[in-house]
């Protein structure tokens, strides 16, 4: 049985939060029970958070403090209910014990020694302003062609950031699909999809011009699933400069 959608999941999560508050208060299991949590984590969490919690689509979890889960009870609730208005779903279908096993494993990841990044964030910021700010927003300032980066250091690992700079196609951001269309009059338009439904399509081209199309009036629609609107910065920086830029991006933690 079920009529599942995000709405129902959220409602459910809300109700569960009431029901399960006692479970959230229990201490997390000690290692080596967390080894079983690792299996669960690798199956259901690692796709986004990376093997060993190194981050990816979701934030890195191999750090001593987690912004959204400052204590074990909060971590339990984040896993069970997800985070509203984010990509983190609730894992309501896990048993209390399974959630606590995963939470325990996540905590064990935070006990590893963090590697200090080699770059200089201040120098990296200068590179950012010159090369990236025209397309990305940090703390309300910048261009709109790419994803906002105000919290990117929480949501992405340094390795992921490096890959995104060198090989953008390998780390396609969500919500920035490149679409090429040809109108009935033969006009070709290529841009990032702003929105779409079964009948209409809204694109923004490289010059930030917004287009609204009815699909039935287009001769051709091509979605470029493997293309990133961001160019590769493989040859744009020295090795040290790249380290500086990554250090800067990794320092962006949503602070005002």
């Amino acid at each position: 049985m079920k009529s599942r959608g995000y709405v129902s999941l959220l409602l459910l999560a809300g109700m569960l939060a009431l029901v399960q508050s006692n479970a959230a208060q229990k201490p997390l299991p000690k290692l080596p029970d967390a080894a079983q949590g690792k299996k669960l984590f690798n199956g259901q969490c690692a796709l986004c958070h990376g093997i060993e919690g190194t981050g990816g689509r979701g934030p890195a979890l191999n750090q001593p403090k987690l912004k959204r889960a400052t204590n074990d009870a909060a971590l339990f609730k984040v896993i069970q209910n997800g985070i509203p208005d984010s990509e983190m779903p609730g894992f309501w279908q896990m048993t209390d014990r399974e959630i606590r096993l995963v939470a325990s494993y996540v905590r064990s990841l935070g006990r590893v020694n963090l590697v200090k990044l080699p770059g200089d964030a201040t120098r990296g910021q200068q590179l950012y302003e010159k090369n990236c700010a025209s397309c990305h927003i940090v703390r309300g300032q910048g261009g709109i062609a790419g994803p906002e980066l105000t919290e990117i250091g929480v949501r992405r690992s340094p390795a992921y950031l490096r890959e995104a700079l060198l090989n953008p196609q390998a780390t396609l951001p969500e919500g920035f699909l490149v679409v090429s269309v040809v109108t009935a009059e033969g006009q070709a338009v290529r841009g990032v999809r702003v929105n779409e439904d079964s009948f209409t399509l809204q694109l923004r081209d490289a010059s930030n011009r917004l287009y609204s199309f009815r699909k039935g009036e287009l001769k051709e629609i091509k979605k470029e699933f493997d293309v990133s609107p961001m160019p590769s910065y493989k040859d744009a920086f020295t090795a040290a400069g790249l380290n500086d830029l990554i250090a800067y991006l990794y320092s962006l933690r949503g602070d005002k």
Binding site: S8, L11, L12, K39, Q93, M94, T95, R97, E98
Partner: protein, 530 residues
């Protein structure tokens, strides 16, 4: 003066008489196309309107006639019932409103007062519709009661507890009104409940029969369970079924076995989960059953609408029951005997090599949920789900809103505590619009062969309505309400309603003029020609 009083009295009589919806009118619902008297439009569950004023030629002129805004936030999945100038809609959490069909103005409303800790285990706070019989409206409640309301005022006539909500039992489906009885299905398949279908006396609310969908000790089918697992075996009845008055049989689909994704603890076929039951309307006894997905481990309930029609199948005239099942196959059964006639795949699936001559799936290896996740089409929500398909006696096509999506299925621990989740795993659906999309598909009803497809941007959550005017109406997640040519699937009209559509369309007449209604977001929209 006396004459005026006389005329007023006569008018009252007319209104009083017209407020009656006796069983005979429900049997002949097809003959009064201006009304929409049951959840699916008729007992055969065609969700087809015999009205033909709105056609492919004029549908582009449709305009909004009125809009009704519901009282509270939450999913608006209602399928309205229209009878004699009143439209009855249900709203979350459990509210009924009676509207003037001419204007959308509310004539009365009723709300079920429920405890704040009412349990919804595995679904959202929703209600999909009412049933009407004589001058009474019947509605199921989230806290698992069936309530009878005066159709003219919304006053409660009686209420009966169906089952204990603290154990996870609930009601979201519209009841089905038949001859003197109200048929009620229950939800709660993720809570380790034992499913059943109930019949209540329409006048008194007394329980007439209860048909358990999980057989108890000594009953046929009980051998498909081990130990005590049948007590928490699932097999809920959370979508409204159909009815054949001549055969006196109720056709009702059943939900998943419990626990959903870990089948290790319940070896066997787990009857009668994921099945269609043909139930004698008088006695409540199961006449026959057909199990679409034996020992299901992907949560593919068979609660999809069973659609009844008569047709020649493989050269032989038959009374059939059709179902586009959540497991991605379209099935035809002989509805007199339950004999399997054919199955045809209608959406992508990777779990079965095919369906054998008796209707049993040939399950492929390595498609079971696992600790690491097993990628299988279709996803948990299936190739289709609770929203209604439509059958047109004109085109002889079966229309269904289809989801094309895969999931990683996980097997987890099993822990049974009454009134809590009893799922044993979960799923992670695959995202991305090159990996998950939707369609309205038209199949030849007697073969299941695809006639046409209209592609949707995302996997839909709304049903379809075919009309004698030659149209198919449907809704999208992005808020598009649209009309397709029933013969070709060509889109002919579309309007952006501004919010997610998770409901079934209906059609009815206002002062003899055809209209179409759909719930979208927080509102119910009614459309008509200028």
């Amino acid at each position: 003066m006396n004459r005026i009083i006389f005329l007023l009295l006569m008018l009252c009589c007319v209104v009083f008489v017209r407020a009656q919806v006796p069983y005979q009118r429900l049997i002949n619902a097809d003959q009064e196309a201006g009304n929409w008297l049951t959840y699916s439009g008729n007992y055969a569950a065609h969700r087809f309107s015999p009205l033909k004023q709105i056609t492919p030629d004029n549908v582009a002129k449709l305009k909004v006639k009125w809009v009704y805004q519901k009282a509270e936030k939450g999913g608006f999945e209602t399928s309205p019932v229209v009878a004699d100038g009143l439209m009855y809609v249900t709203e979350p959490p459990t509210r009924v409103a009676a509207l003037d069909v001419r204007t959308g103005r509310k004539l009365w409303s009723w709300e079920r007062k429920m405890a704040p800790n009412t349990k919804l285990i595995g679904f959202g706070a929703t209600n999909r519709g009412i049933a009407i019989l004589d001058d009474t409206v019947f509605v199921g409640t989230l806290d698992c009661y069936i309530v009878a309301l005066d159709a003219r005022t919304g006053t409660v006539r009686w209420e009966r507890k169906v089952q204990d909500n603290t154990m996870g039992y609930s009601i979201t489906a519209a009841p089905l009104a038949i001859n003197g009885k109200i048929i009620v299905g229950i939800a709660g398949g993720e809570a380790g409940v034992r499913g059943f279908l109930d019949a209540y006396d329409a006048k008194t609310g007394k329980l007439v029969w209860r048909c358990f969908t999980i057989p108890g000790p000594g009953e046929p089918g009980h051998e498909t369970w081990t130990g005590e697992r049948w007590k928490m075996g699932g097999g809920t009845t959370w979508v409204t079924g159909s009815f054949d008055p001549e055969l006196n049989l109720i056709y009702w689909g059943t939900g998943n076995p419990g626990p959903d994704w870990n089948g290790d603890v319940r070896p066997g076929d787990n009857l009668y989960t994921c099945s269609l039951l043909a139930i004698d309307a008088t006695s409540g006894k199961i006449k026959w059953h057909f199990q679409y997905t034996p020992h299901d481990t992907h949560d593919w309930d068979a609660t999809e609408i069973p659609v009844l029609f008569d047709a020649t199948v493989k050269g032989q005239p038959r009374k059939v029951v059709a179902m586009a099942n959540r497991n991605a196959f379209y099935y035809l059964l002989d509805r007199t005997t339950g004999e399997f006639l054919l199955a045809e795949q209608y959406a992508k699936q990777t779990w079965a090599k095919g369906i054998d001559a008796k209707g049993r799936p040939l399950v492929l290896p390595n498609t079971e949920p696992s600790l690491e996740g097993t990628l299988v089409w279709p996803a948990l929500n299936g190739a289709t789900n609770w929203w209604s398909p439509s059958y047109s006696p004109d085109t002889k096509l079966f229309y269904v809103a289809v989801r094309e999506r895969a999931s990683y299925y996980y097997k987890g621990e099993v822990e049974f505590k009454p009134g809590t989740f009893y799922a044993g795993g979960g799923e992670r659906p695959v995202d991305g619009d090159n990996k998950a999309w939707g369609a309205v598909r038209a199949m030849e009803a007697t073969t299941g062969k695809l006639k046409w497809e209209f592609r949707l941007h995302t996997p839909p959550w709304a049903g379809v309505l075919a009309t004698a005017g030659g149209l198919v109406f449907g809704g999208s997640n992005e808020g598009n309400f649209y009309a397709l040519d029933a013969n070709t699937g060509q889109p002919l009209w579309e309007i952006q309603t501004g919010n997610y559509i998770a409901a079934n369309p209906i059609s009815f007449a206002i002062d003899g003029k055809q209209h179409v209604a759909i719930a979208a977001g927080q509102a119910l929209f009614v459309f008509g020609l200028p």
